[in-house]
Symmetry: C2
Subunit: 350 residues, 2 copies
């Protein structure tokens, strides 16, 4: 039983056990998914018959990947799961289970923890993911700061053999496609960072507001990733966590090909285009280098174009835009106004 405390009390005051119990109560599993759930030495689940297991882990670190002045704790919880679910989708796989490892600073209140869990639960419901377990640890305070919050997540998924979409399976001649629109998350973060006093405000311009929302809560392309795998529509796939330039480079390099991207074809979010232009930046380069878009980049061989049509019919309005192709020549280039440029570097966290 959890000790009753006010929402403004430090989560530490609850103690590790009561906090673990609070999380267990929040994520009561649907019956049948887990053989053993939260509260034992480890969780136990039944594997999906005939499927392979897929694993990924990704952490959000306060001050590196998020700023509590720019995002609510609900946003942080949502995004921490979304970025992992996006990795599973980029393999053509389906997310099943999540483990939530929290490193918690002393000043974090129980209300803030609850908000984080709410956001995590919202994404878990969207992705049909069961929270199977996790870990709680204290974040030590420095001499002049209170320690940082770290949300480290592992997601387990499943995929049928021969339906896996790897980064290395591209071949020269494969057309490259991207889901949705790109550049919005980078523009949204830039708006938050450059406008004094923007932290607590919402942009008045609805297009910029979309960009800020995309930074806070990326739309992991769960459905499309699975459809691309199941329908054998794509060979290679990767998510744009570190930006489009990085993803094109990774797929081409790991596939042993080059790539040509057609600048005019890129589905740059109109808010991002407007924002970067207004800042005197090249919207194309800012978009290519910007991270945190969790769209998918994928390759489609010519003979599979028909299969892509099936995916498009089920994509619920998410655009799938052809932006270039993989080439035999190993160069990775951008075609703009009939001229070839070198691809800019991707986004790097460090």
């Amino acid at each position: 039983m959890s000790t009753p405390v006010s929402g403004t009390a430090s989560a530490w005051q609850l103690g590790e056990r009561a906090l673990a119990e609070r999380i267990r109560a929040r994520f009561a599993p649907r019956p049948g998914v887990l053989v053993v759930g939260i509260g034992d030495d480890a969780a136990v689940a039944t594997p999906v018959r005939g499927a392979l297991e897929v694993f990924t882990t990704d952490a959000l670190v306060q001050g590196v990947h998020f700023d509590p002045a720019f995002s609510t704790y609900e946003d942080v919880g949502f995004k921490a799961l979304a970025v992992n679910v996006s990795d599973i989708a980029a393999m053509g796989a389906t997310s099943r289970l999540a483990l939530l490892s929290l490193v918690i600073p002393e000043r974090l209140s129980t209300a803030e923890i609850d908000a984080l869990l709410d956001g995590f639960a919202a994404m878990a419901a969207e992705a049909n993911v069961t929270v199977a377990g996790g870990n709680l640890a204290r974040s030590p305070a420095g001499q002049n700061d209170n320690g940082v919050l770290i949300v480290d997540v592992t997601v387990v998924g499943s995929v049928r053999p021969r339906k896996i979409l790897t980064r290395s399976a591209g071949r020269p001649g494969d057309a490259l496609y991207v889901t949705g629109q790109v550049g919005a998350a980078a523009a949204g973060l830039d708006w938050l960072r450059t406008q004094p006093g923007n932290a607590g405000r919402e942009p008045q311009d609805p297009l910029i507001a979309e960009c800020v929302a995309r930074h806070r809560r990326p739309a992991a392309r769960i459905r499309i990733g699975t459809l691309l795998g199941r329908n054998d529509a794509a060979t290679t796939c990767m998510d744009l966590s570190d930006g489009l330039a990085d993803a094109v480079t990774q797929i081409a390099t790991q596939s042993g090909t080059g790539a040509v991207i057609d600048a005019a074809a890129l589905p740059i979010h109109p808010g991002a285009g407007q924002w970067f232009s207004g800042r005197g930046l090249d919207p194309l380069l800012a978009t290519l280098s910007g991270g945190d878009d969790y769209e998918l980049l994928f390759g489609v061989p010519t003979k599979r174009r028909g299969r892509l049509r099936h995916v498009r019919q089920q994509s619920r309005g998410v655009p799938l835009t052809r932006i270039g192709e993989l080439t035999k020549d190993r160069a990775i280039v951008l075609k703009r106004n009939g001229r070839l440029e070198r691809m800019p570097p991707g986004f790097a966290h460090f």
Copy 2:
């Protein structure tokens, strides 16, 4: 390709990509274990036919779970995996795969990262675990400190259905056993903390040296956990990460029983007994409350005692000591010199 840098250079200078490549090279998987390994959006593995999947996650946080003055980075890497493998063993399961998520402060050198990876690899070899993937993130520096190192690990294991050892499967009358010896890790940490200048030294007394070694590199009871499950020798099991008092309380509470522990029967490590006595502490209470022993506590019903003999024959000299039993009466007590005392609280990280 990794940039050549001296061992004293900051790992950050390598950059995220080169550091990821260094880790991938260090953990080249044995052929056949992974369908897709480190370097894609997610790892893909073939499940063990007919087995259930087991998952656990546990983090070591600098300043909370380890102190670089007391342990080498090799010790930290070893222990970060050992504490997870211990959780899998406590389910009667076998560890298969590990994911390594690092949050790295700027001052950590490449030599220190390499040492951490060496320790992790040593434990992985011991537990027959394949490193399937992971994540790298920057640990932000505070105003007057350089940020802390966090080693967050997820381990995936497998277990046959009906061979799972849960905390809740104990029944009144089950005898309680513990593996190995207890109290050593707590005594070793206490020696490091209380003796000025001990940080870099080794204890002259070989018994105390054993305690310090146990704090730095716990002996996860991988083999015995699996044997207990496979041979149907135990019903309930838990590792002593938060101490023996905590483990007895967890098993009894989750099983809906009480427990009586016989103080005279406890296999207290002689170095721990000697150290705590010399400090004027009650060795029994210090041992019961101390954390970081990764021994196993398990329950054996009367009719399974014969099966326990089979486990004992294969335990390679690790003692299995009967220390008490689960009771119908819900009280959790310690029997000392013919009198009953309340069980002290377990070790709490916060």
